[in-house]
């Protein structure tokens, strides 16, 4: 590998300090049935950001995630991830789905090594060692050889998170990963997710329906409106990391949760009146 010519680098590549890690500009998505899901959406993520997308159903937040991952093509506008197109940046990304999407015929370990296996270039024992390490991180060492059907919903989601982290992603895309879990499990996994983020320093784009979860996890909460999907508010969440569980009873936290909830209400019972 040779370094790019200095002149080219100077012209085409801004310094790492100024260039956003993920850049979404003027993004539009129309489905083949003519419905516009996203209209002129622009959003930048700096390295280390944890950005939550929140909004009413049909505001296109899951679609935005699919577009950033390159799983679905944009109709207009542009997305770059670390300066690359989403398709080319897949090696930097992992996607966590709403359900755990584990392979039922593989054990917990077998599921976690999947990404490494597809990547190639590692031996079976290297992959296993990596999986064992991750199992320790998500607290599942005891069930390494269990099958997914033997696990609870929360444990399955932890396996899903461990699988996503196995390939050392720089960007985690999460589509309501904790939506199907009970509140206690959800709170607990929220805390674990932040702990993993401290250790591994990835950037996150996170879709959720829960205001409290969004405020607890994020550096920024982006509120979208529906029909067509547009960004309405971009609210910074200034609390420092690491964030501990007792943040949830902090007045400043509760105040921000109130602000985001109000922003959501403004959209749903907007100037037009009535539900959208």
């Amino acid at each position: 590998m040779t370094a790019p010519l200095p002149t080219l680098a100077a012209i085409e590549v801004p310094g790492p300090g100024t260039r956003p890690f993920v850049s979404v500009t003027g993004l539009t998505k129309r489905f083949s049935n003519g419905v516009t899901v996203l209209d002129d959406v622009s959003l930048d993520l700096a390295r280390g950001d944890f950005v939550s997308l929140i909004g009413p159903s049909g505001c296109g937040k899951s679609t935005l995630l699919k577009l950033v991952s390159g799983l679905s093509p944009a109709s207009g506008g542009g997305i770059t991830v670390d300066g690359m197109t989403p398709e080319n940046a897949r090696e930097l990304m992992s996607f966590i789905f709403q359900d755990a999407t584990l392979l039922p015929w593989r054990t917990v370990i077998g599921n976690i090594v999947l990404g490494l296996e597809l990547e190639g270039g590692t031996t079976r024992s290297q992959r296993r060692a990596k999986a064992v390490e991750l199992l320790g991180l998500v607290g599942l060492s005891d069930v390494a050889d269990h099958y997914p059907r033997q696990l609870s919903g929360g444990m399955k989601m932890r396996v899903s998170i461990a699988r996503a982290l196995a390939t050392r992603p720089k960007l985690l895309l999460m589509d309501e990963p904790f939506g199907a879990l009970d509140e206690m499990t959800r709170d607990h996994l929220n805390e674990e997710l932040l702990r993993l983020r401290e250790e591994q320093k990835w950037t996150a784009l996170f879709v959720t329906h829960s205001v409290a979860e969004a405020v607890f996890l994020s550096t920024r909460v982006v509120v979208l409106q529906a029909g067509p999907g547009r960004i309405r508010r971009d609210i910074a969440i200034p609390f420092p990391f690491p964030r501990l569980p007792d943040l949830r009873s902090d007045p400043a936290y509760l105040d921000l949760v109130g602000q985001v909830s109000q922003a959501l209400r403004d959209i749903c019972i907007g100037p037009k009146g009535g539900e959208t």
């Binding site: 799983l71 359900d99 999407t101 392979l103 039922p104 015929w105 990404g115 296996e117 597809l118 390939t167």
Partner: protein, 263 residues
């Protein structure tokens, strides 16, 4: 083992009751033996002609088994091709349905004409009868993979071969076994049908189908019953062999092969 025996107990009980009822019925209503022989007579006829019976079973088993294995190999290959694209499925699937809808009794004389009587034609008939359930079910399994799992593989930059071997194929195994279950029973019917048209009448070469026609023409109703029971036993053997392999492959993870939760 205890559990297995307790499960087996009930069907065996039913068998004994039916046999006793059958035995009594033939005595009480004085049914002639050529219409409904006493079960003990059936047993006697089976034992008396056991050399013929075993040779018939062996021949039919070979025909059904070879045809079945051929249809598994052929069916899976066709399913792989069909699973590759919607266009291929649209073009080809209607023709695989022909395998199911054209009555084998209509085609059998043609096969006999083209390939002559004997083993080859019978195996071909078994093959044709068994093919469709395997193609239809395996294809269904290969293409009905969850959208998110496919996206997961795309995110991992999986090659087409990786998606096939690590996702589509394991996902299709339960459906594949549904096809095998259906075809395992059909294979014996196929061998039976084939023999009715194409069996060799040489001594020691006729299978169960041929032997049943012969026993019928000779009014050996007791031996005919023994042959029918042998037919059913052969079909069951095939079926339970498939069920065993299904359990072997699926009991770790698939709901169909798991024990029900204790109540």
């Amino acid at each position: 083992m205890k559990r297995f025996l307790s499960q087996l107990g009930w069907p065996i009980g039913v068998f004994v009751v039916v046999m006793v009822a059958w035995h009594l019925a033939t005595k009480v209503f004085e049914i002639p033996a050529y219409i409904l022989p006493d079960p003990l007579r059936v047993l006697g006829a089976g034992l008396e002609k056991r050399a013929n019976l075993f040779s018939a079973v062996r021949i039919s088993a070979a025909e059904a088994g070879l045809g079945f294995v051929a249809s598994v190999v052929g069916g899976v290959l066709v399913a792989f091709v069909l699973a590759q694209s919607v266009v291929i499925r649209r073009c080809m699937f209607p023709y695989t349905i022909l395998l199911q809808t054209v009555p084998i009794l209509a085609v059998a004389p043609l096969i006999l004409m083209w390939f002559g009587s004997g083993l080859r034609s019978i195996i071909l008939i078994v093959f044709i009868i068994c093919l469709f359930p395997i193609i239809a079910n395996t294809t269904q399994g290969l293409i009905s993979v969850d959208r998110n799992l496919l996206d997961l593989f795309r995110m991992g930059n999986a090659s087409r071969a990786q998606t096939l071997s690590k996702l589509r194929f394991p996902h299709a195994i339960p459906n594949f076994f549904v096809g095998l279950r259906i075809s395992s029973g059909l294979s014996v019917i196929g061998a039976f049908t084939g023999e009715m048209f194409a069996s060799s009448s040489a001594v020691g070469e006729g299978g169960l189908g041929y032997s049943i026609i012969y026993a019928n023409s000779q009014l050996q109703t007791d031996y005919l019953f023994a042959l029918v029971i042998a037919c059913a036993a052969l079909g069951s053997c095939f079926f339970f062999t498939v069920v065993f392999f299904e359990w072997l492959f699926l009991h770790h993870w698939h709901a169909s092969a798991m024990r029900p939760d204790p109540e």
